[in-house]
């Protein structure tokens, strides 16, 4: 985002200044025009100046609060001679031997229209300016600072930049409650507040919770029965292990990753052409999660798979993470503008996903809150700026040699892998600081590097590439990656992160509710070899996770957001999971994993509204109509309405965490959308066909995983009787509702219609669309 930036929004007395301008230039203005620097600047002191004795005190008193260890406005530090000579985003601060042309001197005097530094308090005195000038004129010499780099690196005392230490689990009031260290940290905090944790959720709730959290598919009644009846002390462990081994785990957690990857099946922008090969990346993610590819390795392949020695097609597919950026093929666009926009998105997404920092703020100016300079932003940018997009034919025999073949391949690449190609070091594009973030305003050249407040990436070497960056992100001493990733895993299992601002671990984000727990999780994640499955297993086996989610009125005032975790949270299911759960209850869900994206039925007219009707929706046939929600073709300019109605992200930028809105439009979708009516009908046929003595209770169990209470059963039975009698008098309604679905001969059709209407109620319950 670009904009005007001012420290003094209302400070310029416009009329007065305008008067000056319009009428008579003052003598001062004229003097400025006619004088040279040497004439108007205070004269340099006429004696030798020592940096430590005379310069450092001035800098410390007047400059270092904004240009020092705490803040580095304009990327500048003035707390050492070396830093001063290095300068900031505007270049070197001084030109040794020539104070009259030195930026530092211009800044402290307001010469050449520079805003006067320091911005607050009295300006420097003539005497002080004279001392600075003399020092510069004498060559800006000085003994090297006592602490050369790397300790001279900028530091920050912000919590997230500190090393991850593995805290000891505290001793707590009720050791018997704690199943693992997570519980000790949580109970320690609850003890402090004088609150007892909630009891464990009942078994039926627990298996539904675990099935939805780990697979995104509700348990079958048989699975519930087996779990409820399992007398083994390790019943929960066994269940968790079974779920983590399911191929649907990769779909569920892959979808979380696809939100971050801003995955979609089309280009975006005006033409929004389809990307029929995008699914290969999606399938790679699912497979990698199912195989529990360690997160450090996963990271390396996502960011730099193509750069691995002997990179396999799989590695190159993984590197397609950053190929999910939008592509503008609209006529007349400046390709360089959109290339830069894509690189910007790659930098910002990398910052969000691995660093948990809003690095994008530093695109146009040094970050206002976090210790990231604009120079550092473009140093990070440099890692991504050199890479070229590549569509690699799946068939390796395809021609890929001549320019003509390349051009043809760009137009119609055939089945391909969407990845990157890194040119040889000598022909890589240079990276410049883009002034105000404008691609048309290149400033100074920068080399790939990372942020100074973070551990060093190694030597300042031109040859650093994405692979070095990825390895640095997952290096053991990196303070952010493990914390950020563990926090995300936690949020998917509790509906809220320990750091609720999951995309901002910087100073403007919220601090962690349980700092020691977060650090323990981060260090445990690493200790477990970055195994996401092992981390999830640890969390879901905790007593904290297993708590009931019912609200506790006594805590409404004290802890309305359940920050202290005295219970689990009720969380509305994500868009795709609502679809999957409905299809699963109906017995329709296709369990096929992977493959090209599909086109389930959608309301008429949706795809007509895109550019040149580019989004023709060729409805899928057969089982592909009933695939899981994450396989639905996602067209950026006309996304599948059900998904967006239930807060699926728009896939234009990296999405960390989803909204959980609650609107009448959602109700209309689940009540009336033909897809969900079909689910209700199939659920009805399922229980009717099964020759079930209690079809409604059976349908209830299929939908909610538990048996109805007597009250609930009565409401439903009454409702069903009403439906039945209404449909007996309405054969036309029956045939419309039952539709063309084959109904067994011995089944009265009005019974199917009444059951369908009843099943539809079940699929619309708050409990159905909630993970409790």
């Amino acid at each position: 985002m670009n904009g005007v930036l001012s420290r003094f929004p209302m400070a310029v007395p416009g009329l007065l200044l305008l008067g000056i301008f319009l009428h008579a230039p003052t003598s001062m203005a004229r003097a400025r025009q006619e004088s040279t620097a040497a004439d108007v600047l205070p004269p340099p002191a006429d004696r030798p100046i020592d940096f430590e004795a005379e310069i450092r005190p001035i800098l410390d008193a007047r400059c270092v609060s904004c240009h020092g260890p705490e803040a580095q406005k304009s990327g500048l530090r003035l707390d050492s001679r070396e830093a001063l000579l290095l300068g900031g985003d505007l270049g070197p601060s001084v030109e040794p031997g020539n104070s009259a042309e030195s930026l530092l001197i211009h800044k402290v005097t307001g010469f050449e229209g520079e805003s006067v530094m320091p911005p607050r308090g009295e300006p420097l005195s003539y005497l002080e300016v004279g001392i600075l000038r003399a020092w510069v004129d004498q060559g800006a010499s000085g003994e090297p600072s006592a602490s050369p780099s790397p300790t001279a690196r900028r530091s920050s005392d912000h919590w997230a930049f500190q090393p991850i230490n593995r805290p000891e689990a505290p001793s707590v009031s009720d050791e018997s409650w704690a199943r693992n260290p997570i519980d000790a940290f949580v109970l320690d905090r609850l003890d402090l507040e004088g609150i007892a944790p909630s009891p464990e959720a009942d078994r039926a709730t627990l298996i539904r919770r675990l099935s939805l959290d780990l697979l995104g598919i509700p348990p079958t009644p048989g699975e519930v029965d087996a779990f409820v009846a399992d007398p083994s002390p390790d019943a929960v462990e066994a269940l968790v292990d079974r779920l983590l081994a399911s191929p649907h785990y990769g779909e569920r957690w892959g979808r979380h990753w696809l939100d971050l990857a801003r995955y979609a099946d089309s280009d975006g922008y005006e033409k929004d052409n389809p990307r029929p090969d995008a699914f290969r990346f999606r399938d790679w993610v699912i497979d990698a999660l199912n195989a529990d590819l360690p997160f450090d390795r996963f990271t390396i392949e996502q960011l730099a798979g193509d750069l691995l020695p002997d990179a396999s097609p799989g590695h190159r597919t993984a590197a397609g993470f950053h190929r999910n950026t939008l592509t503008n093929t609209e006529g007349g666009v400046d390709q360089e503008e959109f290339r830069v926009a894509a690189v910007v998105d790659r930098v910002n997404t990398t910052g969000t996903v691995w660093l948990g920092l809003t690095v994008g703020c530093a695109q146009c100016h040094t970050h206002k809150y976090d210790p990231i300079t604009q120079r550092e932003y473009y140093q990070l940018f440099a890692f991504f700026n050199t890479s070229d997009e590549e569509n690699l034919p799946l068939d390796p025999t395809s021609p890929h040699e001549s320019a003509e073949a390349d051009a043809k391949q760009a137009k119609d690449p055939g089945p391909h892998i969407r990845t990157f190609r890194e040119p040889p070091a000598e022909s890589r594009r240079s990276t410049y600081i883009l002034i105000r973030g404008d691609f048309l305003r290149p400033g100074e050249v920068v080399r790939p590097a990372t942020f100074e407040v973070l551990p060093p990436i190694g030597s300042e070497d031109d040859a650093l590439d994405r692979l070095d960056l990825a390895r640095w992100l997952v290096s053991p001493e990196h303070p952010l990656t493990a914390r950020v990733a563990a926090n995300r895993v936690w949020s998917h299992l509790f509906g809220r992160g320990l750091v609720p601002t999951m995309d901002d671990f910087g100073t403007q984000g919220e601090p962690p509710s349980h700092p020691d727990l977060l650090d323990w999780l981060a260090s445990e994640f690493q200790r477990l070899g970055w195994s996401q499955k092992a981390l999830i297993r640890t969390i879901v086996l905790s007593a904290t996770y297993r708590q009931a989610s019912a609200s506790r009125p006594e805590l409404d005032e004290l802890d309305p957001e359940n920050v202290w975790l005295a219970r689990q949270n009720r969380v509305r299911l994500e868009a795709e999971v609502i679809r999957d759960a409905s299809l699963a209850a109906a017995g329709l869900l296709s369990t096929k994993v992977g493959g090209p994206s599909v086109f389930p039925p959608q309301p008429p007219g949706i795809s007509d509204l895109t550019y040149a009707r580019s989004a023709r929706w060729q409805e899928s046939a057969g089982p592909d109509r009933y695939r899981r929600g994450l396989y639905t073709f996602f067209r950026r300019t006309s996304p599948y309405p059900m998904l967006t109605t239930f807060d699926a992200p728009d896939a234009n930028v990296c999405a960390v965490g989803r909204e959980t809105s609650n609107t009448p439009l959602q109700a209309l979708t689940l009540l009336n959308d033909a897809v969900f009516v079909e689910c209700a009908r199939s659920l009805a046929l399922r229980v009717a066909r099964e020759d079930e003595p209690e079809p409604i209770a059976r349908a209830f169990r299929l939908a909610l995983g538990r048996s109805p209470s007597p009250d609930e059963r009565e409401i439903l039975e009454t409702l069903h009787r009403g439906f039945l009698s209404a449909f007996r008098d309405d054969p036309e309604g029956v045939s419309l509702l039952v539709g063309s679905v084959p109904v067994p001969e011995d089944l009265p059709r009005e019974r199917v219609a009444a059951l369908a209407a009843t099943a539809r109620v079940l699929l619309n319950l708050d409990e159905f669309m909630t993970r409790e």
Partner: protein
């Protein structure tokens, strides 16, 4: 949970529990008729003791309100005030000349190269309009006819210089995510007088805003107070029809049962979100009857459709304008806004994005004004002749204005646009207790700064709340141990705006 809400839940539960033994579902309607789905809307103005099971049930403000509904027309991007509302003949005199450094030395721009930036004049012609003689641009011929109803603020200023934070500032009073929008505060404070439509509806034209849903979010307020976004393509609301074969009666019985079962779940787990769900379902049911009627414009006269410009084609050549068909869509949205307000909806947001004219300003602004001028003027006139303007506040706003300097971005063949300008911009209000035919505030001869009667976004919000009968310092919501309000810790009511 509120005790009345509790009682309602209990009555539903008790009834349905007992129903199997005697009363059938047929009796359900009459039983719930005075409290449930079929309840007649409470008489307007007689709301204080209203039901609290519906979070949108009407309730009175702090004092007698002037306005009952608000239509907020948001032109995202920053329309150029010196080409529309704030004539600056000096700009033409200075066209092509640099500004003194003193103007720009502490200011950074998105795109302007201040070393060589020069003043950009305006080709627009301003005329005095109405009896009040308010000067308005020739790009707003129809709005000029409403001049005596408009209170034009030429001295708006904001703290935010980028689009998204600026939008959040204007819509929620804070540049941070997670705060409730003005519409959410009003529906929270007043409820909705429509039982059949959402209390807060969002209509968009063309492409989305950079702020997206955060512009109409309820933030930390319950989600029932969020704006409900109608679709901007095809049908405004999907899935309004029952499944084939399912009568309206059976649909009603279905939703009654859903509510009854959800209420039981609430008893068990006491999650307030369930109450919002119940309200959403009951509202969805009522929308099935009300929304088709709402969006069916066949009852509108040809004269009215013509007044708004419904059915217009975009002009040849067009502008970027955020997509095709925006002229018709925007006109339709303005008419829909009137119909929504007539049906008791509290707050309607009309969004149109594409006013960020860094280049090609004159052509793009002409295109956009051609789209917006007539329908907005029609809306004001139509509300007035129907006697609704007195109680309906109409707002024209954006996140900031534009610079008097031309934007000399490198790579541009010539200067044809203006950059973002938060220090002084213009927007107007009409109806709802606003004193029309006046101009508030003044800017310097080039429109850089406010020189008289500055109106900050917080002041603007404080005034809006006052029109709705609220002391802005007292309309609060306790969250995380703090009483939050729309105006944070600032805001001065601009009494001169109020008639």
């Amino acid at each position: 949970m509120h005790p009345i809400l509790d009682a309602i839940h209990r009555s539903r539960r008790d009834f349905l529990t007992g129903s199997a033994s005697g009363i059938g579902l047929a009796a359900l309607a009459s039983m719930l008729g005075d409290q449930g789905l079929l309840a007649a809307p409470p008489p307007v103005g007689n709301a204080p003791a209203g039901r609290r099971d519906d979070p949108l049930s009407p309730r009175p403000p702090h004092f007698e309100p002037r306005a009952k509904a608000c239509i907020c027309i948001y032109l995202e991007g920053g329309p150029s005030q010196m080409d529309l509302f704030d004539p600056k003949p000096e700009l033409n005199a200075l066209d092509g000349q640099p500004l003194p450094e003193s103007f720009t030395e502490n200011v950074r721009f998105a795109f302007i190269q201040k070393e060589s930036a020069t003043v950009m004049g305006s080709p627009r012609v301003f005329r005095r309009r109405g009896e009040c003689g308010m000067e308005l641009s020739d790009l707003l011929p129809h709005l000029g006819q409403c001049a005596d109803d408009l209170a034009l603020i030429r001295s708006m200023h904001t703290d935010q210089f980028n689009h998204h934070p600026g939008q959040l500032m204007m819509n929620t009073g804070s540049p941070m995510f997670g705060r409730p929008s003005v519409g959410s505060w009003l529906t929270y404070g007043l409820g909705s007088e429509s039982r059949d439509l959402p209390g807060y509806v969002v209509l968009t034209t063309g492409r989305g805003t950079s702020g997206g849903t955060s512009n109409w979010s309820s933030g930390f307020l319950p989600s029932s107070y969020s704006g409900v976004l109608f679709r901007d393509q095809g049908d405004p609301v999907l899935h309004l029809g029952n499944p084939p074969g399912l009568s309206q009666e059976l649909q009603r019985e279905s939703i009654e049962a859903i509510s009854a079962l959800n209420a039981r779940r609430f008893d068990a787990v006491r999650d307030q979100e369930i109450n919002s769900r119940i309200a959403s379902y009951e509202l969805a049911f009522r929308m099935q009857s009300s929304a088709p009627e709402l969006i069916d414009l066949s009852g509108e006269t040809d004269e009215t459709l013509e007044l708004y410009g419904v059915g217009r084609e975009d002009p040849e050549g067009g502008g970027r304008g955020g997509g095709a068909g925006v002229y018709n869509q925007f006109a339709t949205n303005c008419l829909l806004a009137r119909r929504l307000v007539e049906r008791g909806v509290r707050f309607v947001n009309i969004y149109h994005a594409s006013w960020d004219h860094h280049s090609n300003l004159d052509a793009e602004l002409s295109f956009n004004c051609g789209m917006a001028d007539r329908p907005v003027a029609a809306l004001i006139a139509d509300l007035k002749r129907r006697g609704l303007l007195d109680s309906t506040l109409v707002l024209w706003c954006s996140e900031f204005g534009r610079t008097p300097l031309g934007e000399n971005r490198p790579g541009f063949a010539k200067v044809t646009g203006r950059d973002h300008h938060p220090f002084a911009f213009s927007q107007f209000l009409a109806g709802g207790g606003i004193k029309g035919g006046q101009v508030i505030g003044k800017t310097d001869p080039i429109g850089w700064n406010v020189v008289e009667d500055p109106v900050h976004v917080h002041d603007y919000h404080a005034t809006i709340l006052k029109l709705f009968g609220f002391d802005h310092t007292q309309l609060t919501y306790r969250y995380q141990g703090r009483d939050f309000r729309l105006t944070d810790v600032a805001g001065q009511v601009v009494d001169r705006l109020i008639s």
